[in-house]
Symmetry: D2
Subunit: 380 residues, 4 copies
């Protein structure tokens, strides 16, 4: 059944494979009149791009976006926006190994079980290349958020292996901190705790030299989200955000606010007390006294509806499944064998995962923003 | 915007509040010809029911389901099935306190921000009473799974506070183990590690005596799920299951397989090697040699598609927000105040959470089963 | 697959059969804060009610609506609204005839082919009793239209057999004209051309005395619909309205504006010239000069989007299939036989069809109104 | 709100404008393993192509389809299929006239009212060029129908102006008859009544010489559709087919079976008697005795569900709105003016409408076929 569409009012539909001509997204529901060009898409695509640093895969893809529809004289028309990103670096691999064997941790066997056959040249539709167009669509969603309600989504690497960053105030982290070190060089691991960032880079380089891979955790923070987004029962904001992050490859866990840490807390330790503060109007919610909480263990959502506090999520990302080391597996006929996955893989997915996660969070928030506009209070 | 519908081919739509006449679910998409009566719904409703043991809320609701449509002469007709569960124990509380104050950890403020007003007599639409009809619908989904492909969903309490159960083989846990102690008495905390179950009960009783509450973790296991369910990109099985659990009240985190534990693993430690085994045909997948994995850190899903291994999920559930202890908050006008939530609340949500979580997982699996039937291989 | 849901932002889901306990609708997406009670539903239910006059079926159903959720202290809460209408007059028929035979013109055979069996006591889910709750939901949609943008939907009988009403200005027809004759008596056939109304009544009475039935055409007019509703490609307003009317039992054709009459026109004869007029602001579109057309062959929609002119539709309704006269058919085992459908049937469906059609049109317009609010111009 | 998606299990999403780089469709839900290449798409695209004959627009577009994803080694992979058709003949028009004036019968004013501005170079998203990719997707749907259940969809021109074709047995019309005259020359008007075809061509040529345009009616017939497709209430097959045809530009009316003709019939004249016949198994419904009707005024659907009889629909298509003759209109500022639409327009839309209508009908039938597979009888 169709599973290539995401979102309701701000909705994307995607197509494309790792070894085909390219990937495409159709964005449906973006309001008319928003300034938009390919320039808006390039920064996040560059953050997701392979080959961007020494700790990511060296596949070389320029990832140039082409807007094919939905923009006229520099502004969105209100109709569907198609964006095409062509594949360039489709090296002529020797596919014999992966054609007849199931790579551990990959979807090869799942695809055969589901469809009866698969594009054996790589991940096909399950390749992370599919996320290029999600990142492009996410850039459109971010722009909508910024222009309509001053919203912002920023992610960063919170943990790689046992190295855990200390980020005392997630809502204050800036894109500049995530992308640049104090000395102006690129923050290639995207961790705003620079001391831990250096440790993470060292760990990833060591892991790569061992022909292995390592997992980690990303944290994503959305600010400027007014209270009232999300629906009470099934389309809770937390549920849609949770789904959004789980749609990304390699994500094995999602939590928000205190997350799994709530299991060992008492109610008195977990509840965030409300208080009233006087705020500037940056969220479209109107200025004046606004209700806030003194702590944010609830991660910006109560009853599945945003509270106006920063929305804070974390995703656990498994170590890359493709390994140059030999692993036990079976052939497609069920015979025991071993496999080494040659190719250019990320020793750690986290640095490139950050813009993907931001994109998915932005898509959900843009969607719920439009939902809120449609179904707010009577006459609202 | 409409947010009261869940699922695509096996789909539920719900309505109802804690203090209204009752809760209703319309199940749409259940195939014709399945035997069904209210008797199929009662066991899980009894497991969710308030007042079932000394460690849960003492609100007294019989939770009697009435099937109003979609069943003729004991079998489903293929058309929509409506189930009504009336509310009985709507005590005439003194609402003054919660009418004018925002309860910490509850959706009171979120609702006011979203809708401009709210049913101040309690949680309204965000009350856990809304889950009664989800559990009823889940019982229908479970029956469909059992009859069409021998699938089964079982949940249990994995952790309460710092008490963690040891469940070495989740796929072998039986409903009997979850519901009964070896001595035949009810396993009121629903933990199949009986030693830890006793500790959990003791902890919950202590917490209650302190007028406090405690969080925990539930584990849900689905077996008999054939390989091939789930879609590659957005409607990944893990994404739909993740959303499903996040739709439940109080859930702050969801993980599957090794979950957040993957963050500190290397690829060689995390990948599950494939092997071939000869299996009986219990899953509808056909007998003979079948591909399996030696371990199950992937939690039964790769690339978002089921592998035929048991599907294993965990949800983190926060401590009940309603507390008899005094907490800091504000009035609806933003003035500082304090609140004590009187009433009959669960000191720990986990024992009653188990059937709710099972229901949501069953709804997703029934849905993806039908999706698989519709869009499997050509001619399939 | 689920087919019991209609609409996107203003969405209804229904359940129920002719011979079960009752029919239910869940309305999802109605904005919060709208005054609503059962009193708002009764007038249109009375217009749809069997037994309302001598020219309709004499089945006696009071059709009392009960709002079970979504309304608190007389106003909608923004959450899902459930309405139950119980069946009362379920006479103990002798079903043997229709149990084992396929009634011509009915869905008996279709249901058996689809589901393998059917509720043989009558139409089951395909009975027109299912439309009770659509009419109730339509009354909510009409109220939303009236309160949010001054919109109004009125239908009437345009044709019965060869008797065709002359309604020179559809947009000026009032509910009073449709429901009452000049002498104050009920206009039982719901035709605002009183001369033709009398002829229609006479024709229907003659048809009934012949134990036969007769077809006709209804016309539905929506006014106060601002320009800009509808989407350019698939969710054209005309397409959603067309589908809406085709969902009603017995509808064999739908047209808008000049309709099938366009086939013999030249472009110069068909195009409606634009002109500018100064208008009062009744539509929420703002006052001042507004573009209109001198004629309305386009039926209020161009490119599938409303133009601000009255939306005018017509539906062709077949003669009732159930006939006391003997008809040729087969048994469920494929043997030739004959059938007479005993029971209390409408000799002409049109008078009771009018409120059903109005309801479906109102549901679409309420839905597109909310869609317009969500996705209008940037910042709009 | 998103309106660029059509269908549920076989679903298309489109983007593109008349004067942009091209049009794109993403087909989601096509089962895996179906042979597919661009060759499958070309025949219907050629039938829709401008410049194909002297009675259609002379804009020159080769309409070359490129499959960008979802096909591997000549077979569908089960994942989303993207098809791009680039625009070639985007002549540098002088747009001044249509930039500042509203063309009668076009969506110019509607778009401005909806979006605040529009692509003034032509129809933009509302141009019939958008239907290229619908026709391409329809070709995929037709292939699915043919391979999975032997279904077929054929359309033809039934009426142009007052010239009405006589087609006594719609279900027996062949593609060859629609496309070729007995002498082997192209049947450029696509009417299988050759005598009337000649009259239609003569009429269209006369109309063109008058710088005018003319309306007409197309008839579309689907055969091999097994009984049981369609849902009882809102997703009736007739409702989805009705919507499908109304999504096409210029359609002002849709009917099936006897259609509007039912208004003047009595029940005894309208009901189609059932009988049993012995049939070969060509529909996947199984051979042996099968129920059929002696006549087909019900157009192959009862209760909104297919009966196994041919599905027969008609659509009324208005005369082309663009006219070289001077017409009254207003400027975008509301000032009276006149307009002549220069350019290369169809004097009659019907010949090129036929493949568009076939495509939409095929998309609905492929969708409902997959729905039937998903939700047929228990264990089915």
């Amino acid at each position: 059944m169709p599973g290539n569409t995401f979102g309701h009012l701000f909705r994307i539909t995607t197509a494309g494979e790792a070894h085909g001509p390219g990937n495409i997204v159709i964005i449906d529901g973006c309001p008319a009149g928003m300034p938009l060009s390919e320039d808006d898409l390039r920064p996040d695509l560059a953050r997701r791009r392979p080959g961007q640093s020494r700790i990511v895969t060296q596949r070389d893809e320029p990832d140039v976006p082409q807007i094919l529809s939905g923009v006229f004289e520099g502004r969105t028309t209100g109709t569907s926006i198609a964006i095409l990103i062509e594949n360039r670096d489709q090296r002529s691999h020797d596919y014999r190994d992966i054609k007849d064997k199931y790579r551990p941790g990959h979807a090869d066997y799942s695809f055969d079980a589901k469809y009866g056959f698969r594009d054996y040249r790589g991940g096909g539709r399950s390749s992370a290349r599919e996320t290029t167009v999600r990142v492009a669509a996410g850039a459109v969603a971010k722009k909508l958020m910024a222009m309509e309600f001053g919203g912002r989504v920023i992610g960063y690497v919170k943990q790689v292996g046992h190295v855990i960053a200390n980020v005392p105030d997630p809502a204050s982290v800036t894109l500049e901190q995530v992308e640049r070190l104090p000395n102006g060089e690129p923050n290639i691991v995207r961790c705003p705790d620079y001391e831990k960032a250096a440790e993470m880079v060292a760990l990833i380089e060591q892991i790569r030299s061992e022909q292995n891979s390592i997992g980690g955790i990303a944290e994503i923070v959305a600010t400027g989200v007014r209270a009232g987004l999300g629906e009470p029962v099934f389309d809770k904001l937390k549920a849609d955000l949770g789904k959004a992050l789980f749609t990304l490859p390699a994500v094995l866990g999602v939590e928000y606010g205190i997350g799994f840490g709530c299991a060992t807390l008492r109610g008195t330790e977990n509840n965030d007390p409300f208080y009233a503060r006087r705020v500037e109007d940056t969220s479209g919610a109107g200025g004046g006294p606004r209700i806030a909480t003194r702590s944010n263990r609830h991660g910006g959502m109560l009853g599945g509806i945003s509270t106006g506090m920063p929305v804070i999520l974390r995703a656990a990302v498994k170590p890359t499944s493709s390994l140059p080391l030999e692993q036990e597996t079976v052939t497609t006929r069920g015979e025991p064998t071993t496999i080494r996955t040659r190719g250019r893989h990320d020793p750690c997915l986290l640095p490139r995962f950050v813009p993907m996660a931001e994109a998915m969070v932005a898509l959900v928030l843009a969607d719920h923003w439009l939902r809120w506009k449609a179904s707010g209070k009577m006459g609202g």
